[in-house]
Symmetry: C2
Subunit: 201 residues, 2 copies
């Protein structure tokens, strides 16, 4: 097994969701593990001066169409969430908590449940109560999680993860780093595959 | 021959250049003509609040790398121009002038020469003198062009083209419209192909 590849995403990002549905299979094809890193795009946008796509004049309507079209094109189930965009701090903290107590694999499984709830079932994942319901259905310890997401430890951990991500140049979702090479966007997956296959691009 | 597809681009846009190298062959494969429309991204950015990619914090360095990587990935010759970004008003006006006097096919040929000068030969196409040199090499009437690009007729024509483009929702480069369906970005070419092949997406 060679070095794991790093996958950064925001739980409110449709393209992050598409990437999440594909990244593990792509990496596994080339004998790689994936480290999943939840990030908060809001914090990044303060540095880049960007805004949520759907709130930008002209780009807004196009983006909504592109989300659905891209999902269809790749055969990924998708329903534009009624609450969008939304804050993903609680979801990100909950995922880190699962990672600490159930390991990376459990955290990935939990992240996929969150994304499915958001982009297929239209659940408002900004609500801590909904995050706990999703966790419960997935067989995770909701009592520990309810306390964990409000703990200083997890808050600091997410802050440190964000600082590290931005220090590595992460500015969007999805953002993938393979052996030091950075890729932004689900539409760079064919280039990521070339990088995994040939070791360079 | 079915309806032509519309292709919008800015002469200073690397992804617009990549699209320009591929769009005619893609359309021809499905029996379509392409109408090429030079636009000025600066005017669009005033509405969307966007900025040139390379001037955005964090995105800047990434973009420069992505330009070269994407060119390599698609087998398109590319050299990051020393003067970048640059104003493309003169290039756009010159192209419209060629269109008026030599027709659409001549204008496309001229546009490809401009793009090649910018992204392969590193020529500063903001300089009217350089535009005329490119035109001369391509066998275009440079005396008529020199006068034409400064005429009220061409200035108004570019302004009207821009108003029309923005009314149609064009906000980036490349931007392609196929039978009312809009696609932004060179990385949407596989979706454009699906649209051309199946008539929907």
């Amino acid at each position: 097994m060679r070095t794991a590849i790093d996958f950064y995403f925001d739980f409110s990002s449709p393209y992050g969701y598409f990437a999440a549905m594909r990244i593990d299979a792509l990496a596994a094809k080339y004998g790689r593990d994936v480290e999943w890193h939840p990030i908060l795009l809001g914090a990044v946008f303060k540095t880049t001066g960007s805004a949520v796509l759907t709130q930008i004049p002209m780009k807004g309507a196009y983006s909504l169409r592109d989300f659905e079209r891209t999902a269809r094109f790749h055969g990924i189930p998708y329903k534009q969430p009624p609450a969008f965009p939304l804050p993903t701090t609680v979801a990100a903290r909950a995922m880190l908590w699962v990672q600490n107590f159930r390991g990376a694999e459990g955290a990935i499984q939990f992240a996929q449940l969150i994304y499915h709830a958001m982009f297929v079932d239209g659940i408002n994942i900004a609500e801590p109560m909904h995050i706990l319901e999703i966790a419960k259905k997935g067989g995770f310890d909701t009592t520990g999680m309810a306390e964990g997401v409000n703990s200083i430890v997890i808050k600091n951990q997410l802050k440190a993860e964000m600082d590290l991500a931005m220090a590595r140049g992460v500015f969007g979702s999805p953002f993938v780093i393979v052996d030091g090479e950075s890729f932004w966007g689900f539409d760079r997956f064919s280039q990521i595959e070339a990088m995994l296959e040939f070791g360079k691009i």
